[in-house]
């Protein structure tokens, strides 16, 4: 097989060495030859290493992007916890791996270092059974309480289900301020999961003191569909439709994120025509996503008209996507190495027409609500969070940029064509619901700007998918007429793409923030482990913090403004 090895970046970072030498010999070992700097850390020093990495001015890893587990049943140290850290100031990344034997899967909880470690640790407990010492509420996050075993372990049968009985239903965990004596009786209110304000899949339990929320807890997992286990049982190309259903409001961006990960592992270069189309369709998808978010947020605040206004641009963009791939919502339009089909002949005209249709809808909504007294009262100062705190929770995307932190993957780590275009990263500083709404409106305009420039450049000539029979299906007429091509076709369909052994983390800017895929390949035709780092988990775990102290009606508007997509949150 003639695939190129993935390019290995220069991972020798002197500032990392200054931290590493502070720890005893053998407790922190660098691992060479990976896509980003990687350390293997013994678990007894993990907590101190992380604190040092965060606080040392030379490294300043202020964000815990992700935490996931990996199971290697053949190794002595069977389990591995993988942490992905990010430094906003330096734009640097670091991966920490903590190997553990099966009988000692205990880790220190990192909540004292990064408050955003809360839900990722619960997820790792749920999926692998890792215990986190010092975690205040170490319970299952995604699977129901009647579940037994840890589904992402390799010895768990993917189809083994458990029944949830009534006595096991989740009991809320409240962080109530202690010793506070109150004259009024407190009341616990349950909203959801089947409640329109909870978008159908979340459950909020709030302790109310009159109209004020004094403590709250959120339960999720009502849409956990086992994406990661399913991807381990399918070939690399068969995973593409599953990625559609992560953030189903902008499924094309998920396709791009996943395909880019596999392409990097294979070392495949995507043809310019496909890159061009991917950039345009990603931006259209971003507009669609922001339309749903702002539309539903405004409905939650009672402004129904805007919902109709915001859904109409979506319908128009659906038309374009339908002409590209035949589907409206869950497109699966990317393939590893390019696109599913060549672009339709009227792609340019359709896209140009969209550029004319969409702005009036944005303007109409802005005219209706931007200075609307009711909307301002409902949103300004509601659920506000500072940039520093948001970073601690691990926020990315529009919600982080509304708090004054200008982090955008398209700008910080450019991919596709973003570094060749003239566009801005909108930043606002209020950090409240209103700014989150405003920033999405601004980003839609920026997306339109990007699309316009790309259309002006013209469609690049050439193939829509890479011409490599080990990666892309050959054209059908060649399959039927040439023996060799038929064999390639057969091998690709039966065995799947053979991704070389290795691991890689790759990210794109999803509509809600950084969408990363951490993939491990063992050289068979299926992913050994595929972990999706969606932005929603980090956003939503801060929800109890956002609404505590506010009124119950404010919590409804805050949820809409965060744009939590259950498919991506729970995978």
């Amino acid at each position: 097989m003639q695939t190129l090895a993935p390019p290995i970046p220069d991972t020798a970072a002197p500032e990392l060495e200054t931290v590493r030498v502070k720890f005893p010999e053998g407790s922190v070992m660098p691992q060479e030859g990976l896509d980003q700097p990687t350390w293997i850390v013994r678990r007894d020093v993990l907590s101190e290493v992380c604190r040092e990495l965060k606080e040392n001015p030379a490294t300043r890893f202020d964000m815990l992007l992700d935490l996931c587990g990996v199971d290697f049943p053949d190794r002595v140290e069977r389990f591995e916890a993988v942490y992905h850290l990010y430094s906003l100031q330096r734009g640097a990344r670091l991966r920490l791996k903590v190997p553990m034997k099966e009988d000692e899967i205990v880790l220190p909880s990192l909540i004292p270092v990064w408050v955003g470690a809360n839900w990722p640790e619960r997820e790792a407990y749920d999926m692998f059974g890792f215990k986190f010492e010092g975690h205040p509420n170490l319970r299952r996050l995604l699977c129901h309480e009647g579940f037994q075993g840890h589904p992402l372990r390799k010895d768990y049968d993917p189809a083994r289900r458990w029944i949830l009985t009534e006595d096991k239903i989740y009991k809320p965990h409240f962080d109530l301020p202690e010793g506070e004596d109150d004259l009024f009786e407190r009341m616990t209110v349950n909203i959801g999961p089947s409640h329109p304000a909870m978008h159908g899949t979340f459950r909020l339990m709030a302790v109310m003191d009159g109209e004020t929320i004094v403590a709250s807890d959120v339960e999720i997992g009502y849409l956990h569909r086992c994406f990661e286990k399913m991807s381990e049982t399918h070939t690399w190309s068969q995973v593409i439709p599953y990625t559609d259903r992560l953030n189903y409001c902008s499924s094309f961006i998920n396709n791009v994120g996943y395909c880019r990960t596999v392409e990097k592992m294979l070392g495949v270069e995507v043809p310019p025509r496909a890159v061009w189309a991917r950039t345009i369709l990603s931006e259209f998808s971003r507009i669609m996503d922001h339309c749903v978010c702002n539309g539903t947020t405004l409905v939650d605040a009672g402004a129904l008209t805007n919902f109709w206004y915001m859904l109409q641009p979506r319908e128009e963009i659906y038309g374009l996507l339908e002409s590209v791939c035949g589907a409206r919502l869950t497109v699966s339009a990317c393939r590893i190495g390019g696109l599913i089909h060549d672009l339709p002949p009227d792609f340019m005209e359709r896209s140009r027409r969209l550029l004319e249709i969409i702005p009036p809808f944005i303007e109409d909504v802005e005219k209706l609500v931007d200075r609307n007294r009711i909307w301002l009262d409902r949103s300004v100062g509601v659920a506000a969070i500072t940039g520093e705190e948001a970073v601690g929770w691990g926020w990315t995307g529009p919600c982080l940029r509304a708090s004054g932190v200008p982090y955008d993957v398209r700008r910080a780590h450019p991919y596709d064509l973003y570094d060749t275009l003239d566009w801005e990263v909108p930043v606002l500083y209020g950090g409240d619901v209103y700014d989150r709404y405003r920033i999405r409106m601004m980003e839609m305009r920026e997306s339109l700007k990007i699309i316009r420039q790309l259309l002006d450049r013209g469609m690049p000539e050439g193939p829509h998918i890479v011409d490599d029979p080990h990666v892309a299906l050959p054209p059908k007429d060649a399959v039927y007429n040439q023996m060799e091509t038929m064999i390639y076709h057969f091998k690709l369909v039966m065995d799947g793409i053979q991704v070389p052994e290795g691991e890689l983390y790759s990210m794109v800017e999803g509509a809600n923030g950084e969408l990363g895929f951490y993939a491990i390949s063992d050289g068979t035709g299926k992913p050994y482990r595929l972990h999706a780092r969606g932005p929603c988990l980090q956003l939503f775990q801060a929800f109890p913090r956002l609404i505590t102290g506010g009124s119950l009606s404010d919590s409804i508007v805050s949820l809409g403004g965060l744009n939590i997509i259950a498919g991506e949150l729970e995978r």
């Binding site: 329109p196 899949t201 009502y222 399913m230 749903v292 109409q312 659906y318 919502l329």
Partner: protein
């Protein structure tokens, strides 16, 4: 149904009731996932479900007569769905929208229910992942037909009304003792 003059219609009560029911479904959108987004498209201005009399979306099971399950139902959600179905008043119907609700779709996995008909009866299955709005509208039209075809509920009610109250053994014994 026949008309007499300009302002009189004669019909059976059942026909009138059917006609009213099937043209004014009040759906409960049990939307959890991607299908819910397509349901949103179906009710908004482009496809405008109001043309078929089903635009009054109710989020209370007590007020709705069609349970529209749009999206994947997993084992954690299953008790919730069952409870909502049980809370709906008769007559009630269920539309299962999309592959996941019909059969679990391509999630043959440890936490996903393999079709909502594991726990509740379904009247119309709408295939697709997700179904297009046209598909969903077709499903609702199919349900309309089913309602006008479905005589069973009238029959059940008529049975209940026409059957004389059965004499229990105990009262018969008591009468015999008295006489």
């Amino acid at each position: 149904m026949s008309t007499i003059g300009e302002s009189w219609v004669t019909t059976k009560f059942e026909t009138l009731e059917d006609w009213a029911t099937r043209n004014s479904f009040w759906p409960f959108p049990f939307g959890t996932a991607c299908c819910a987004i397509e349901f949103m498209s179906t009710v908004s201005s482009h496809y405008d479900l109001a043309r078929f009399g089903s635009e009054v979306v109710r989020f209370s099971p007590r007020q709705s007569d069609v349970l529209l399950v749009a999206g994947t139902i997993n084992d954690k959600m299953a008790p919730v769905l069952k409870k909502i179905y049980d809370q709906m008043a008769d007559p009630k119907w269920v539309i299962s929208m999309g592959a996941c609700a019909c059969s679990g779709g391509f999630y043959r996995a440890y936490h996903v229910m393999q079709g909502i008909d594991e726990i509740i009866p379904v009247d119309v299955y709408v295939p697709g992942c997700p179904p297009t709005p046209e598909g969903l509208i077709y499903g609702i039209l199919q349900l309309k037909e089913k309602v006008s075809r479905d005589r069973k509920r009238h029959h059940d009610r008529d049975q209940r009304q026409s059957e004389p109250e059965k004499e229990s053994f105990e009262s018969a014994d008591a009468r015999a003792a008295n006489s």
